[in-house]
Amino acid sequence: MTSTGPSLTLVRRIKARPSIVFDALTTPEGIAHWWGPDAGPVLAAEAEPRVGGRFRVRFRMLDASEHESTGTYLEVDPPRRLTMTWRWVGGVEDPGESRVEIVLRAIADGTELTLTHSLLHDEATRTSHERGWTGSLDKLERHFASLAQRRSP
């Protein structure tokens, strides 16, 4: 996990075995039962729980507003671990991409679930590094191109 990126961590103890919790987290039928910030209904749920697969969930809140979240699964390790990117479709409040990591641990009477929702701090840094390199390489390329031009008769 990132150390400096902002993140939110929640822990829940659930009286159900990890495989049942994992299915509830990753099947459209399961997702339809719990996804959303209030008791409003899930309108559509799609999930392809494999690395690179996508999820998309549309829900309505009690204030009648509709929202859609989507993302890509980064790690799918049933029934222990699930990581995915997270983005609001057309969302204006939080336009960027974040990351959700869910770890399930078997305990005596069920499962301990730890969820961490964080900004993509490392990814953002990596992208800016890549950009830095790309910029330098472009400059080098231009430099060599101009040298070659000067040398050609």
């Binding site: 400096t4 829940r12 075995r17 049942i20 919790v21 509830a24 900004l119 953002a124």
Partner: protein
């Protein structure tokens, strides 16, 4: 739009350090403080405090105004509010979701046990 996450990132990175959090907490209590007032409670030297203030300034969490030889430091509330809003939004989303997830999984567990019997 990308700036929103960059800003959040800087805010949270600035908040990771306990000395910086203490400085912000001190600023929250009053209408600004001088640099030496801020440095007083800490067992670190003034230049170290200045470095922390630079980080807080870069994150937009404080403003510094100079009058004569005194620099007054004030809290800038907006980035903090933005960071808190981010946390609160997802806390609300996930606490409510996980409550229902737990209830659903526990129902499924009961069904599975009934079937196993």
């Amino acid at each position: 739009m990308v700036n929103y996450h960059d800003r959040l990132d800087r805010t949270f990175a600035a908040l990771v350090d306990p000395t910086r959090r203490a400085i912000l907490a001190r600023l929250e209590r009053g209408d600004g403080a001088s640099v030496s007032e801020l440095a007083a409670p800490f067992a670190i030297k003034l230049p170290a405090v200045m470095k922390h203030l630079d980080v807080l300034d870069a994150a937009g969490l404080i403003t510094r105004t100079k009058a004569g030889r005194t620099v007054t430091v004030r809290l800038a509330a907006d980035p903090m509010r933005e960071a808190m809003d981010w946390l609160r939004r997802y806390e609300r989303f996930w606490s409510s979701s996980l409550d229902r997830l737990a209830a659903y999984a526990e129902r499924k567990e009961t069904e599975a046990r009934r079937r196993d019997r």
